[in-house]
């Protein structure tokens, strides 16, 4: 059988290879366009607002069109690919069609530093999502940022971000990915600190940059390790890439410390990078603070795309993470490895942990930020337990409804004169009807309201995978609890903001159409996207895993599925009900304590203070550095300072002694000597008569003498 297969492959290897699709050759245009736009915008002056926004939006529109084109291309190829497999009854080592374009960037000795891009279902889906959500947020920003004086700078950074993020998506080389990854981090830093005059924003930008750097250093280590072991930086290279079976076999045969294989260890290092970017538990602290940036930034970077880049990274290197446990080489599901188990536990823990904190926050954006951290935990857990499709589906749906929520929050903030404290808002249902309706849709999607909202299906996929996970059942219960919390805190937020009565100062007003139109579009997708991932028609999963799926109601008949859906719906209703009961009718006044705070002030205090993670860091890592700095300072001041002072004092004493000697004994003789020396110096100074030619002459003479010496010495 194996021989037949090989013969068949060889047969087709001889056949004229169809040229790569047009789109694959031009895939680089997708990130390049926004980057070029950013470059041009950076040269514009402040008043050129329309041009700047037009350039950014125009370039991203083109990128979106190209991305859609690439997705269509991929769909065609998938059909052809499956048709081929079906006709000839073969299966390829790669379960999905994949087109790569690689080239050598630098050649160092025998090692090639290769860059390249890849188009496969994963990147195609992600490209469309990033450019589409990005485009909507760009349009929204025109309204949101209209009064900002640095409008052009904003669009310059946003455009750069969009380009870099699209670069991360298409990268087929871990180095290219890393470069775009760092660019994304840079733009995140720039945009968090966009209002750099606010000290909080500047501090948050620094915090975000430094915290993600911790993960990135580990990522870099993983990258270097991967390069040194597999000898290539490319992910896919027609069988010679670093995460293709041949290289993985090599990585698996090596053992690192603690019983890990090299593949597992590298996977964990890369996961550290992903955890930094995606705000997973120990490194999540920067994300809530990042809400100091403008709200479109929060929506685009810190909800929809950049933070999801970590999840995307894990999905991209999934074969590496899952190496050794795969049913089939190159498959994108199944198997549990140490690396994936770690991913799962971290994800599940983060999901619950962040949801808990979100319950007790009062800043509208901060609640959403913790919600994002929590949902990213879901995605990680989904990746760890259910494979690429499960995690990515939640990523895509989450991108839409969380962007919607952030933009809705932005609309609220915009309409309520920059008020972000939910206790000072209220009753906006009537004042901002459009915002309210879309926000409610986003909130229900996030809570996972059954059947019509996308969040339900994607979260259900994760819970389903958790239920069938064969390592432990705890993540399932954790995630279920997380769902309850999610429904609860979102209901609390909506109750505060949109129900009750207006507690702020100046009355609120509805935002302009340029802001509400993207909200409406996003709301539509927050509902409709669920349709492509229901158990009856798991098209999305099929697309990512290289299968075609038809509509089949029997999908619901899988064991436990109905019970699971029921349980999850129940949990959601419970959360919604609880929230509505506590906050629905009449939220407390700003000065009054929260309902829950009255019940359990201690726990509430912990949650409000974010479980003291920042304080723990302050007390440990930062305190250690501060202590170490103080020690160094003390050493400088006391120890070395003392030594230096002592030496100085000793020399001072010695100097006094000398001075006496000098005055009464040496001076006489010395003066005489000096005079003699001065006379001799005058004699010598005649040589230096200031005439260039004299110097040149001496130089030439010296050359002659040197040449003579050389010749003479070689003679003897």
């Amino acid at each position: 059988m194996q021989g037949d297969l090989l013969a068949l492959r060889n047969l087709f290897a001889d056949a004229p290879v169809p040229p790569q699709p047009w789109m694959v050759q031009r895939l680089w245009l997708i990130p390049a366009l926004p980057m070029v736009a950013s470059g041009i915008i950076s040269l514009l002056k402040q008043p050129r607002r329309r041009l700047a926004a037009g350039l950014a939006i125009g370039s991203l529109t083109f990128s979106l069109l190209l991305s859609l084109f690439a997705l269509g291309n991929m769909l065609d190829e998938l059909d052809a690919f499956l048709g081929f497999q079906h006709t000839f009854h073969v299966s390829f080592s790669d379960p999905v069609p994949r087109e790569v374009v690689n080239f050598t960037w630098i050649q160092v000795g025998t090692a090639n530093v290769d860059l390249g891009w890849v188009l496969d279902p994963l990147s195609a889906v992600m490209l469309v999502m990033v450019s589409f959500v990005g485009l909507l947020i760009f349009i929204y920003s025109i309204g949101y940022m209209e009064h900002d004086e640095n409008f052009t700078r904003f669009f310059c950074f946003m455009s750069l971000f969009a380009g870099a993020m699209l670069g991360v998506v298409i990268a087929n080389s871990v180095l290219l990915l890393f470069m775009c990854w760092e660019l994304v981090g840079l733009t995140s830093y720039l945009l968090i600190g966009y209002w750099y005059r606010k000290p909080a924003a500047a501090a948050a930008a620094k915090k975000a940059f430094l915290t993600t750097r911790v993960g990135d250093v580990l990522f870099l280590l993983g990258m270097v390790w991967l390069f040194s072991q597999s000898g290539t930086l490319l992910f896919y290279n027609h069988g010679a890439g670093s995460i293709e079976p041949a290289a993985l076999a090599g990585l698996l045969s090596q053992h690192a410390a603690l019983g890990l294989t090299a593949a597992g260890a590298i996977g964990l290092l890369i996961f550290a990078g992903a955890a930094g970017k995606s705000g997973q538990f120990p490194l999540h602290v920067w994300l809530p603070d990042a809400m100091e940036g403008p709200t479109p930034v929060s929506a685009l970077i810190h909800a929809a795309t950049m933070v999801a880049a970590g999840v995307y990274l894990i999905a991209r290197v999934y074969p590496l993470m899952a190496a050794g446990a795969l049913m089939q080489p190159g498959a994108l599901t199944g198997g549990t490895t140490t690396a994936l188990t770690v991913v799962t536990w971290v994800g599940a823990f983060t999901a619950v942990f962040a949801a808990l904190i979100a319950v007790a926050q009062n800043d509208i954006k901060r609640i959403l930020a913790y919600s994002t951290v929590s949902q990213l935990g879901y995605m990680m857990a989904g990746l760890g337990m259910g494979g690429v499709a499960v995690g990515m589906f939640h990523l895509i749906t989450h991108a839409f409804f969380k962007a919607l929520l952030f933009l809705g929050a932005g609309s609220v903030i915009h309409g309520c004169h920059d008020e972000q404290d939910i206790r000072r808002l209220g009753g906006l249902r009537a004042d901002m009807p459009l915002t309210f309706v879309t926000y409610a849709i986003g909130m229900l999607a996030l809570c996972g309201f059954p059947l019509v909202f996308s969040g339900f299906w994607s979260k259900d996929g994760i819970l389903d995978a958790a239920l069938h996970w064969n390592v432990a059942k705890a993540p399932f219960y954790m995630l279920l609890f997380g769902a309850l919390l999610t429904a609860f805190y979102m209901t609390r937020q909506v109750g505060y903001v949109f129900f009750g009565y207006w507690r702020g100062g100046k009355p609120a007003r509805e935002s302009p159409a340029v802001m509400t139109a993207p909200l409406a579009i996003l709301a539509f997708f927050a509902m409709a996207l669920g349709l492509i991932g229901t158990p009856a028609w798991p098209w999305f999963r099929g697309f990512l895993e290289g299968r075609t799926v038809g509509f089949d109601l029997n999908g619901f008949k899988e064991p436990d599925l109905a019970a699971l859906m029921g349980a999850s719906a129940l949990v959601v209703f419970l959360g919604l009900g609880l929230g509505a009961w506590l906050y629905g009718g009449n939220a407390p006044k700003p000065e009054e304590p929260d309902v829950l705070e009255r019940a359990t002030p201690t726990v509430w205090g912990w949650l409000r203070d974010r479980l003291y993670v920042d304080e723990i860091y302050g007390a440990t890592v930062i305190a250690f550095y501060a202590w170490w700095a103080r020690v160094a300072d003390w050493l400088d001041r006391r120890l070395w300072g003392g030594v230096v002072a002592g030496v100085g004092w000793a020399f001072g004493l010695w100097a006094r002694l000398n001075r006496l000697l000098d005055i009464y004994w040496v001076d006489g003789g010395f003066d005489k000597g000096c005079e003699e020396l001065a006379a001799a110096g005058g004699l010598l100074a005649r040589v230096q008569n200031g005439r260039v030619q004299t110097y040149l002459r001496i130089l030439a003479l010296a050359v002659v003498v040197l040449a003579l010496m050389l010749i003479w010495s070689s003679r003897s």
Partner: protein
């Protein structure tokens, strides 16, 4: 040695001598041009076409013109009253003679180990270009940097200092 070599070498040396000896500075510069042209011809005789043309382009087209400009800008074309040679010209001449003596002696002493006729090297401009962009790319970049720095430096040094400014 061919007649052409003696002719060109004679031209070059005569040009060089004239450049050093003539009274009128502009004549010196023009004689220098003759020496440059002779050297370019010598390069061509040595089958170094590219270097020869580069020599003409750079030295006759640029350096000679620069020198001429400098002469006119410094009113150097008038012959000074107190002679064109410096006070210590004799010492300078002696030193130069000594240098030539030692150089010539060294060349003649080692004449027997110097190689004789070699096959004409076939070097195309393409090879030179590839070498410049490949093996010698770092020196090339450094020279580019040097030329940029020299341009800026020369402009700044020769620029008029504006009155009334810092």
């Amino acid at each position: 040695m061919s007649f052409a070599f003696y002719l060109v070498a004679g031209l070059t040396l005569a040009g060089g001598l004239a450049a050093v000896l003539l009274k009128n500075t502009v004549h010196c510069a023009l004689a220098l041009t003759v020496a440059f042209a002779g050297l370019a011809l010598l390069f061509l005789q040595l089958d170094a076409q590219f270097a020869g043309f580069a020599q003409i382009l750079v030295y006759i087209g640029a350096v000679a013109i620069l020198i001429v400009f400098a002469i006119l800008l410094t009113k150097g074309s008038e012959t000074p009253k107190d002679g064109v040679f410096s006070r210590s010209w004799l010492a300078g001449l002696a030193v130069a003679a000594a240098v030539f003596a030692i150089l010539g002696w060294a060349v003649l002493q080692s004449a027997h180990v110097l190689p004789h006729e070699m096959a004409v090297p076939q070097v195309t401009v393409l090879q030179i270009g590839n070498a410049l962009m490949g093996r010698y790319v770092l020196p090339l970049e450094i020279v580019a940097l040097l030329l940029t720095a020299a341009t800026i430096g020369a402009v700044i040094v020769a620029m008029h200092e504006k009155e009334g400014r810092k």
